[in-house]
Amino acid sequence: MKNLNDIKKENNFKTPAGYFDTLNNEIKEKIENDVQQKNSSLFQIFKPYIYMAASLVLLATGIKFGLHTFVDPKPIIGGSNIENIANVENSDLLYELYADDMVFYEYLNDTEELYAASNIKDEEIEEYLSQYYIEYELLYE
């Protein structure tokens, strides 16, 4: 009956000659290669984002210089343009918008001449106003 203690404890696993002389260097080389590979794979992961960022910078630069080349550098709102905006009050557009009210305003202001030029009676004017300009009834009174 054999016990484990009866067996000599020895290491029977052998290695190629000089294996341990080169193992440490092989490990160090593998670490260097793996770290390099990891760094380059990091670049591969972020490559699309790096390209996207570069494209955006190029696009922004292009827009900035392109606008200077093709667009009139004068400001859209400048001295003369401000005057134009002020004159818009007299433009045809506004005149048309307020035409009806202005006709009525002129009519009210030119009553003397109109009276003189026509035979319209007060009753007829009142009747006309009450039909078409109800909101002015009070003013007229």
């Binding site: 009956m1 054999k2 016990n3 484990l4 067996i7 404890k9 020895e10 290491n11 029977n12 696993f13 052998k14 290695t15 190629p16 294996y19 341990f20 193992l23 440490n24 092989e26 490990i27 160090k28 593998k30 670490i31 793996d34 770290v35 990891k38």
Partner: protein, 182 residues
């Protein structure tokens, strides 16, 4: 004792400027021990060579996770053991549909391998060890060949010392039974 020996290395590891130098010291100091720890588990020299290199690469890339109050030796052993167990799992899965079990393939390697020079009794001992369940084999090798304390094995395998003692005791009994029946 080992912990005291590693104090200088740990101090160098703390400093980023001397970290690579410290890791070279670790490789020089522990590569041989780790190689044999792995070799006894995978038997084949080429596999052991790949796994010991992989273990050191993993250790280097995980240096930031190393707790400076821990022992470098047990930390490296843990990494090597996990690398080894993953490899053995893969090999076992791959041999599921083959005629020979993975353990039988390893036993054949002991018989035929030019890098095993033991006598018949030593071959029988190795075959008996190969018959043990993987984790029991691991505990047996660490205790019997590497002379690790139960407290160190416990730290490496994250298993209670009581469990390890029982495991080693059962392993010895199985091995003795195998040798006497052979």
């Amino acid at each position: 004792m080992r912990k005291n020996d590693d104090k200088v290395i740990i101090e160098k590891l703390r400093n980023l400027e001397t970290r690579n130098e410290a890791f070279n010291d670790i490789v020089n100091k522990y590569s041989q021990q780790l190689y044999y720890h792995i070799r006894r588990m995978v038997i084949d020299h080429e596999d052991a060579n790949d796994l010991v290199q992989d273990s050191f690469v993993k250790a280097y890339t995980n240096l930031d996770k190393f707790r400076f109050d821990a022992s470098i030796y047990t930390w490296l052993y843990r990494i090597a053991t996990n690398t080894c167990l993953n490899f053995l799992d893969r090999q076992k899965r791959m041999s599921t549909f083959s005629a020979l079990s993975y353990e039988d393939t390893l036993a054949d390697k002991i018989e035929a391998h030019s890098y095993f020079d033991g006598d018949e009794l030593q071959k029988t001992l190795q075959k008996a060890i190969l018959k043990l369940p993987t984790k029991q084999r691991l505990v047996f090798n660490m205790k019997y060949y590497d002379d690790l304390k139960y407290s160190e094995i416990s730290e490496i395998l994250k298993t209670s010392e009581g469990g390890l003692k029982a495991s080693y005791h059962h392993a010895v009994k199985k091995i003795e039974k195998y040798i006497n029946e052979d």
